[in-house]
């Protein structure tokens, strides 16, 4: 059965008004921002389902921007994230899409860019109680909850990457809880997602990056 801590009942501590429409939205953006290594300068949010219909009244927009700014769920600055994003030189837009229906009600697509025009295109879903799921990165279906220390490795789909990565984890003495590799087409870009119990250190990240087939390493530790 499900495990329920007392803090799942008395909690989460969060900026209101809604765990699914505010706290969950924030969590999606907090995870997504990590996929862009340089400061984000431009971000488009495309909102679906209930997000598209009620985002203003639930502060979903402010929460999403707050996540891009790196605010955690208890941060009272989320209320002012429009102003703070502008001050940080971030250009943003919200585009409700009410025509596509076959999507989970609380879904957002976040398209981010840095100054040089590099970026990431991420789809996330708020799944209730402040929890969230990233389900697509740059068009490739993945599944990331952020409940563990997570490493996302963008790699060429060729032999040897998983062997290299698991060796790096072994050498740093970090236990892997889950490992999944997602790809769309053979031989192209794939995403290796590793969820671990311990903190993912900078030296681990550097080691993983040493293999030329590894294109980008992202760490999500919420």
């Amino acid at each position: 059965m499900r495990e329920i801590s007392v803090f799942d009942v008395i909690g989460p501590n969060m900026i209101g008004p809604s765990s699914s429409h505010t706290a969950g939205a924030l969590r999606i953006a907090l995870m997504a921002r990590r996929l862009v290594s340089a400061p984000i300068k431009k971000v488009r949010f495309i909102l679906y389902g209930s997000f598209a219909r009620t985002y203003k009244g639930h502060g979903t927009d402010r929460a999403l921007l707050g996540g891009i700014l790196g605010f955690n769920a208890e941060d009272k600055r989320i209320r002012d994230s429009y102003r703070l994003a502008t001050e940080a030189g971030i250009e943003y837009s919200f585009e409700p899409n009410t025509t596509e229906q076959a999507i989970h009600p609380n879904t957002v697509r976040i398209i981010m860019e840095d100054e040089a025009g590099n970026g990431a295109d991420v789809v996330g879903v708020s799944i209730g109680g402040g929890n969230a799921l990233l389900k697509q990165i740059n068009g490739i279906d993945i599944s990331i909850t952020g409940n563990y220390q997570t490493m996302i490795i963008m790699q060429k789909d060729e032999p040897g990457v998983a062997a290299h990565v698991t060796r790096c984890f072994y050498e740093e003495n970090i236990n892997i809880a889950f490992l999944n590799i997602y790809r769309q087409r053979k031989g192209e870009i794939a995403y290796c997602v590793i969820e671990a119990d311990n903190e993912l250190t900078q030296s681990l990240v550097e080691k993983v990056k040493e293999l030329p087939l590894v294109r980008q390493v992202t760490v999500i530790q919420l």
């Binding site: 059965m1 329920i4 008395i10 989320i78």
Partner: protein, 290 residues
């Protein structure tokens, strides 16, 4: 031993260990969630601080909700209490005002503790902060009261639901009020069985309450239901402490609530398609369909 999953198991643990519900829940947390009692108490202390701050904000700040449907109600109740003897007595007046204020904080993107949900976040602080002020309980006692409330909420979550989308408002405000009633009984010296009796009474008196927020927003009628949830908790705690028993055991009442919740039509489970949300006036206020 402390891995109870029903109310009757919880009562057995309390009887065997000669402990309160709060102590049993704290022990459970320390044993199964990779933490120490000290850490869990400190973390709950932080949660209680947030609750107190939210109550304070609701009484003092000018709050504007995102949807514009609520704002300023908590202050009105308190102003009335200051000017005249309130009809419900000062404790109920205070509890309802505090509960409503926390909902205003929530609706204006302030910081709250979902207890058990954001939409029902006013009930527990409304009851507990009032009792602390009126009876002079220490913060340590209040933190234990939150563990008691957490035990009741956990049992409802485990065996039923606290989500409005699944069980209607009876599952959200109903759970919050059951948790608050149980905590109040323990604070006032009641036994573990009396705590669950009070919780059971609350659920039985809120059975069938639908979730029908105007515009789909956590504002109205949510705010008033938080006030009613807080008052209901106090009323049921009072009944129990007076020696009024409860015919239906807590576990059976939770199951009944779950069954009622599942038989509620889709329109009455947080979709804003029925109930208050579907009245002509609510439709005018909302603008969702336009």
């Amino acid at each position: 031993m402390f891995n109870f999953t029903t109310g009757s198991e919880l009562l057995e643990v309390c009887a065997q260990q000669q402990c309160t519900i709060a102590e049993a829940m704290l022990e459970r947390e320390a044993r199964y969630y990779n933490t120490t009692k000290e850490q869990a108490l400190a973390r709950m202390g932080h949660s209680y601080e947030i609750m107190k701050e939210a109550v304070h904000e609701g009484q003092t700040e000018e709050l504007h909700s995102m949807g514009g449907l609520i704002g300023g109600e908590a202050k009105k109740i308190s102003a009335h209490r200051a000017q005249t003897a309130p009809l419900c007595g000062s404790i109920v007046s205070k509890a309802m005002s505090y509960a409503m204020g926390v909902l205003e904080v929530n609706a204006s993107m302030g910081l709250i503790v979902a207890a058990p949900t954001a939409g029902s976040s006013g009930v527990i602080p409304g009851v507990l902060c009032t009792l602390q002020e009126e009876h002079g309980f220490t913060d340590e006692q209040m933190i234990m009261a939150l563990f008691n409330a957490g035990a009741v909420g956990y049992l409802i979550m485990y065996n039923a639901t606290v989500a409005g989308a699944e069980g209607g408002c009876q599952a959200e405000i109903g759970a919050a009020a059951a948790m608050a009633a149980s905590a109040a009984v323990e604070l006032m010296g009641g036994t573990p069985r009396q705590c669950l009796d009070a919780a059971s009474s609350v659920i039985g008196t809120m059975l069938g309450l639908v979730c029908d927020p105007i515009g789909g927003l956590v504002e109205a009628p949510c705010q008033k239901r938080n006030a009613v949830g807080a008052s209901n908790a106090l009323v049921c705690a009072e009944m129990t402490l007076s020696g009024v028993g409860n015919l239906i055991p807590f576990d059976e009442m939770v199951e009944a609530m779950y069954k009622v919740g599942r038989s509620l039509p889709y329109e009455l489970r947080e979709t804003a398609l029925g109930g208050v949300a579907a009245t002509p006036t609510a439709c005018q206020l909302c603008g969702l369909c336009s």
